[in-house]
Point group: C2
Chain length 283, copies 2
Amino acid sequence: MQEYVRDLHRSGKIIGLVPTMGFLHDGHLSLVDIMRSRCDVLVMSIYVNPTQFGENEDLSRYPRDLKRDCSLAYDHGVDTIFHPDSGDLYPENYKTYVTVEDLSSKLCGASRPGHFRGVTTIVSKLFNIIRPDRAIFGQKDAQQALILQRMVRDLHFPVEILVGPITREDDGLAMSSRNTYLSGSERTQATALHRGLTRAKKMVESGETDSNIIIEEIRSVLQEQPDLRVDYAAVVNLENLEPLSRIEGPVLIAIAAFVGTTRLIDNIIIHADETNIIKIQDS
Amino acid sequence: MQEYVRDLHRSGKIIGLVPTMGFLHDGHLSLVDIMRSRCDVLVMSIYVNPTQFGENEDLSRYPRDLKRDCSLAYDHGVDTIFHPDSGDLYPENYKTYVTVEDLSSKLCGASRPGHFRGVTTIVSKLFNIIRPDRAIFGQKDAQQALILQRMVRDLHFPVEILVGPITREDDGLAMSSRNTYLSGSERTQATALHRGLTRAKKMVESGETDSNIIIEEIRSVLQEQPDLRVDYAAVVNLENLEPLSRIEGPVLIAIAAFVGTTRLIDNIIIHADETNIIKIQDS
């Protein structure tokens, strides 16, 4: 792979990367579609990265279907799939980690210690191997995208990070490979995450600026579901992820909740500029 | 710099890097000489990296002479000098660190907490900015070279790490920019580090394999000096830096000592192969 990309760089090609853990859905493919027109050679990595899973998390049962993934990826214009072995990416006695302090311990980082260290480490490896000119991540993992943008800035990776919008099912559920874990009833209850965010959006549009009132409303929507347990519902500054008591500046409203045993996340981004005109990104 | 190296890569040039903190001496220049024939474009970085200095260390008084450094470097065939501002390398609110666990907490890492995290972080930045095909470090900082080799392997940096031999003054003192801190008497006493290692080498050549006996002998040589305080004298496995009770395999004998208030280091590498034939590298 490193020889291949060296030759690509020598011939002046722009390399685009869509990093994934496979089991592709329309969310991944929307990122492929966005990147396709923004590079000469489009690489997708498919790798279920062990270091971003906690000890009691779903590494072993994370869904995999490489054959289907390859077929979908090539159909959408991917040029090259990078599907390494764990032993290649994590050689014996590996000891090196990349960490983004502070940002990595908030929100999902508080519930999943070590998760973002695993993400920043694997993405550093992928960047060093594939040397993309740009890479795209989904807004569903908004904290991940923010941390990676910070990592790229701080370590001077010559990579442009793009963030693609959330892709949703018809009933609003954010697409995720983990949705396949849900039973029929859980699948129905899971739509509450999007309903909570939609409610929050309407409140902000109606002029509500008190974060606590918005969070309470989201929680009440979520708690109507019998098998749903809120991990967090938060209104934070989009740049440093610090809690905001009032809606101002770039704001991330983020939810994590267990539906049954499946942990789902969703979010909405609101930009309030100096004139207090509020722009809402995604839903 | 990133645009410049991108164009170099596009034209198929091999980039060699000699990272330094400036105040060049013949040790640095020997690394330049080694690298000159091993690359098309030879880059030297000159940057006194704040994150590898502890709070009570010598960051502010570390010697600097950029004009002389540039002149020496260009005379020895360096093509490009990279001399960034701190603000460029460490943007406001930087939070990202690269760490090599275990190796970074041993030997010098025990005395200088955070030092190697600073080294691995700045070298990652330099690698991302300059994108060298190979980079060279001096054996005087043997632990640093080992940690960087591990970092490159673990994170898959497409960079070959070379290690150049120790350059010494006529009386054996390993060259270091910090030698300029020494008073006349301290300068004389500082030669004990090399004498201790030379004594160790002779003992090994005479068949001594007990590390404790060797360490005691080194300590007795060092302790003859009134203003010298031993930080550590250690016999360790060259790959994992674990203490060795017997001389076998690739062995690093390393010393750190304060001469007055100046901390100096020196080392010797011994390769004992399966037939117990011992090869000694450098002195």
